[in-house]
Symmetry: C2
Subunit: 371 residues, 2 copies
């Protein structure tokens, strides 16, 4: 393994310029918000607090309806390159990642995922010639639906030559769920000082920060085939699929634990712990172990603690905010679902801030601008 | 305008090879169907008859839940080329097309569209630099939501350099709706001999058959700028947005007209009139006027009647199967929504077949294999 490079690799260098995308996002968010009143024509109403949250929620009377669409992003490029290098297909794993992107967001509002639709846009019909890869995608997709307890409703498999690059595929998932009973709705009104923070284990990089992880390959003499300290290959470890956290949130409900708030730790890494709009201080005193591949990226890209935790999940894939008295049981419930979990910290009154003294990490209110 | 070419232009020549895609589709459909039982864990059940229909339906107790994801396809390439040639942005129009692809399918099962999610995957962050184009997309998307009475819930705007081609965008929409009251469910059990066929007017090519329409450009000396008989440009006419038929289906419900079945006329053109699995004979005796751009394509590509009506909508964008006594009122309701409509034919007992004697068109059961 080579030593850390002299110049750190930042996310901007990795090629995504949010300064260009963000004005459109803001404009789209405003236009979208202006359509809420249309639901009144059907006798329904949006849950306004869900605007800015990870999934959109509508009050349809007997329960709330939640929906979302999410894409995998550039992780498919890693799967393609690793297939070229090793002959193995990783499409079963990235199928799970794609569904995780949608489902792990949908459950933050308290929804039970019910229906998943597949969006697989290939760069031409010849993408489907590799039958083993296509079959891995189908089987991985089905397995992930099974884990989530959601029906695979159908989907769209267009061949988009001229739009999607030849030999590539754009994977996305939409998910519809219900918040039932309505008391499961979780859009932030319950979060407060004294709540415990329970972190659920990540499996690796998940599907965020891949642009940087791919950029890093250019600096590694053996590229994706670079061995990590454990002997596993860098590319293989990058492709560990994202855990599906829906079984945990369902089990918490059945155990009678009321989640006050939750956050899916995706882009922006631990800054996502500041997602809730209120002025609250989040104190973490137990830091989950860092997945090997993320420790490797941090070292090789020369990222300091702030950059690493502000970009990657660093071992915490999902945050649950629960009543302090339920924290230990919440950890046990997660473990019973096969997901490691830690009672990692608590919420305090105070100016909005994330504080992790054991690693010298601090994010203030301005570290995350999502709304 | 040049004369029809000697060799006809077929859809296979246009570059989409369904023989490669269809095995994956079948495999995915089987895997998807096998997940239906998972809904039982939540106390719900799928409406099995919706498998193979245009949207997936789940019985959630007080009403049915319908969901779908659909993509625009290659029409964005026409918008891009026309912007290059004329300086105008057509992204407002193709925003409506994208929503129409999802909504016009969703309503076939009797659903009221409630929430639309945007999926706009660009080939890199620089796509968003053209602010006028991005704004046209936002405004067109919002207008289409307004027409459908559906809330724009949110969406995903990834920059997917390396997957989506530079300078291009992959547009898709997911839509969730309710079938409420449950008596509005329309998955085919009511269709029968004696029903009237009402056809709703198309505006042009909509978003199907674009590969052929784009291929044709290579044969036209002035390409997209070729004038049609009316003087309108070929590229401009191609970009007439797809009508949103949701206001019609909502108005029909309010008027007390029970739709026995409906079909969105998309890919496979009029063969979609054979969508219902039953053995029934569909007789059309009034053929809607052919939109100028489709007549032009038929002539220039040298398509015979069977090829043209088996590929394009040829003026009929949506088919409603209603009780014979309601046909005239159904036409009036559509017109009151600003959509031209015709009581075009009827359903008979007999082997599965579509018959349009006035133009010598006949499609048998084997003309459409969707399930």
């Amino acid at each position: 393994m080579s030593a850390a490079p002299l110049s750190p690799l930042t996310y901007d260098q990795a090629g995504v310029n949010y300064d260009l995308i963000d004005p459109l996002k803001v404009s789209a968010q405003r236009a979208a918000a202006a359509t809420a009143g249309l639901l009144g024509g059907h006798g329904f109403a949006e849950v306004a607090a869900s605007r800015g949250e990870s999934a959109y929620v509508v009050d349809v009377g007997p329960f709330y309806l939640a929906s979302i669409v999410e894409c995998l992003g550039s992780k498919a490029l890693v799967a393609d390159e690793m297939q070229r290098l090793t002959g193995r297909s990783f499409y079963g794993a990235i199928a799970q990642d794609t569904i995780a992107m949608a489902v792990n967001d949908l459950i933050t509002v308290g929804a039970t995922p019910l229906v998943i639709q597949a969006y697989w846009a290939a760069g031409g019909s010849d993408w489907f010639e590799d039958k083993a890869r296509a079959q891995a995608l189908v089987e991985g997709w089905k397995r992930a639906c099974e884990t989530c307890g959601a029906a695979w409703g159908g989907g769209e498999t267009p061949a988009l030559a001229g739009i999607v690059e030849s030999g590539r595929i754009d994977l996305a998932a939409s998910c519809t769920g219900l918040i039932n009973p309505k008391s499961r709705l979780s859009v932030g009104d319950r979060l407060g000082a004294g709540d415990a923070i329970v972190l659920l284990a990540a499996s690796g990089i998940h599907a965020n920060g891949l642009s940087l992880a791919r950029k890093l390959v250019e600096r590694l003499p053996q590229g994706y085939l670079t061995p990590l300290p454990s002997g596993r290959l860098y590319g293989e470890a990058l492709l560990d699929p994202t855990p599906l956290y829906a079984p945990v949130t369902e089990a918490l409900f059945k155990a009678g634990i009321v989640t006050h708030y939750s956050a899916n730790i995706t882009g922006h890494g631990w800054r996502k712990l500041l997602r809730h709009p209120a002025s609250l201080r989040y104190v973490i005193d137990q830091v989950p172990p860092v997945p090997e591949v993320l420790g490797f990226i941090q070292q090789q890209a020369g990222l300091d603690t702030t950059e690493a935790y502000g970009t990657f999940n660093m071992g915490a894939g999902f945050a649950l905010f629960v009543p302090a008295g339920d924290a230990a049981r919440c950890v046990e419930v997660a473990k019973s679902c096969g997901i490691a979990a830690w009672h990692a910290g608590h919420v305090e009154a105070g100016p909005k801030q994330l504080v992790v003294d054991s690693i010298g990490l601090r994010f203030d209110a301005d570290a995350l601008q999502l709304r």
